[in-house]
């Protein structure tokens, strides 16, 4: 990519950048959140959301309004906006947006053993051609696996499958018992084979190996995304690389925190850490040896960025580490909008919108459970 993107960026991407900045301006403000927090019921919440940019998105749902319906509708809206961006984009923005979509479908449908398979297939969609078709195929696979687990008939599920994602071995999916069968049936269709060869060492489908596999594949996805941004250079790299490095470090910390008291060994844990970011390589080596939260905190104290974050954990508000990381992510994403002519604005907008969805769902949960003490633990964005 040539230096001086200011001269050439708007030719291909100016319209979309303008659009995404307009969308960003419609994010909820602090005043909106104050109004939402004062609602007594979910119906009130719906009425308040009608005055914002969301409008009548819940109009079709009459009774009873549940938190998961609100979540589904908001997510659908976000996906619609994102699809619009992607359909109107040109290279290399479209590859960039394709990297981002790996996050989406993986959150849609998950089942006990196929959860990992979803993440496996989706998070490794790296600069390969029929990407769009892959995502529909994957949705179909998951639907079939889900049905097999819950002993539903194949015909019933086949009827619900997406037509764009049909492939010949579909009926065989629910017969496959082990991952190797599944891989042999499916891998040949999708161009994901090389990645699985690298990551697959165990054949058994038990929880420990599934978790390892899922995290390893997410790690390779992140590394590929990082390499893409770095090779792209220019303002995009300057904006995206710190964000992705933070994401890698965050994953390392969260994996470590969640692995305390489980059967995951330290060597296995170390293989799950992404190989870039501020913590790489010394911090990761120290982190792999940590056995409790205080030791983890000691590792974080070596880094000027993470020391204040860890000190904010606990405290009077009862903040968890995840909350603190979400806050930092929001800060970095808002700053991405201060520069022009780069692709980071798309990534930042989507992440901010996801945070907004999380906030609204949290407020809705607190309202529906009538438990208002923690209702203000959302993270304000603008």
């Amino acid at each position: 990519m040539l230096e001086g993107a200011e001269l050439y960026f708007n030719v291909d991407h100016g319209y979309l950048e303008g659009l995404v900045r307009g969308c960003k301006a419609s994010l909820l403000t602090q005043q909106d959140y104050i109004n939402l927090v004062q609602c007594e019921t979910l119906e009130d919440l719906k009425i308040h959301l009608q005055t914002t940019d969301y409008g009548n998105f819940l109009a079709n749902h009459t009774n009873p309004l549940t938190v998961s319906k609100i979540d589904t509708e908001m997510r659908k809206r976000l996906c619609g906006e994102f699809e619009y961006f992607r359909n109107h984009s040109l290279e290399p923005l479209s590859t960039f947006l394709t990297y981002m979509t790996n996050e989406f479908p993986a959150q849609e449908v998950c089942t006990p053993c196929s959860q990992t398979l979803v993440t496996m297939f989706l998070r490794v969609q790296v600069n390969f051609h029929p990407v769009k078709r892959c995502s529909y195929m994957i949705d179909n696979v998951i639907l079939l696996m889900n049905g097999a687990l819950q002993k539903k008939s194949v015909k019933e599920i086949l009827g619900k499958c997406h037509p764009l994602g049909r492939f010949t071995e579909m009926e065989a999916v629910n017969i496959a018992e082990t991952p190797s069968d599944l891989f042999n049936a499916i891998l040949i269709e999708t161009p994901l084979a090389p990645f699985f060869q690298d990551c697959m060492s165990e054949n058994a489908l038990d929880e420990l190996n599934i978790e390892l596999l899922r995290n390893k594949l997410y790690k390779s996805y992140l590394e590929a995304f990082y390499k893409f941004c770095k090779n792209h250079g220019d303002v995009t790299a300057e904006v995206m690389c710190p964000i992705l490095e933070f994401e890698a470090d965050r994953r390392a910390f969260i994996i470590t925190l969640n692995s305390f008291g489980t059967e995951l060994s330290k060597e296995d844990r170390e293989t799950l850490y992404p190989t870039f970011g501020k913590l790489y390589p010394e911090g990761l080596r120290l982190l792999a040896q940590a056995e409790d939260f205080d030791q983890m905190k000691n590792v974080a104290d070596h880094y000027g960025v993470y020391k204040p974050l860890f000190e904010a954990v606990g405290g009077s508000g009862g903040k968890t580490l995840e909350d603190v990381f979400y806050e930092r992510e929001v800060q970095m994403n808002v700053l991405a909008f201060n520069r022009q002519f780069h692709y980071g604005v798309f990534y930042a907008y989507v992440k901010l919108k996801e945070q907004e969805i999380r906030n609204i769902v949290w407020i809705a949960e607190c309202i529906s459970q009538r438990h208002r003490t923690k209702i203000n633990s959302y993270i304000p964005i603008l």
Partner: protein, 156 residues
């Protein structure tokens, strides 16, 4: 009193921790898609006769009373290296920890939710026993009051 405790326990800690877990993991990762429609219970209710014919309820772990269990079985996760020679039968005596439906690396809030729901179960059993005692006491009182009423007109 105990009913209020149960309410407080479940509301403040149980459901809210579940909501927090959804916040951290994503709303779709903690929901009915994660478990099959048929599940094995981990705990059972054990009703026993205490003194005076009262019923007492206790919560016990399932599989503790299985008479055909030969020896101690390792519950939990096992790392199977390669194909095993003899297929290990799916242990129905040691039901899987439901926390593992959501993966191994689960956030702390999900564990907290599980702990509070477990405590809630215990509390529910205690409440049921207490309720029985109260009902029994009330019926005793009513019986004695009837007797008193019968005796008084007789004396007068």
């Amino acid at each position: 009193m105990a009913a209020l405790d149960l309410r407080a326990e479940l509301d403040s800690l149980g459901w809210l921790s579940l909501a927090k877990a959804r916040y951290a993991m994503g709303a779709k990762s903690v929901g009915p898609l994660q478990y099959a429609s048929h599940m094995e219970p981990q705990v059972c209710l054990h009703a026993s006769e205490a003194q005076e014919g009262l019923q007492k309820f206790k919560v016990v772990r399932a599989g503790v009373h299985a008479p055909e269990e030969v020896g101690p079985r390792e519950a939990g996760l096992r790392r199977r290296k390669g194909p095993t020679k003899t297929p290990e039968p799916e242990s129905s005596e040691a039901p899987q920890d439901p926390l593992n439906w959501f993966g191994i690396l689960v956030p702390h809030s999900l564990r907290q939710a599980q702990a509070s729901f477990r405590d809630g179960l215990q509390l529910a059993a205690d409440i049921a026993s207490l309720q029985n005692r109260i009902d029994w006491g009330r019926s005793q009182l009513r019986g004695l009051q009837e007797k008193l009423k019968q005796l008084e007109p007789g004396a007068a």
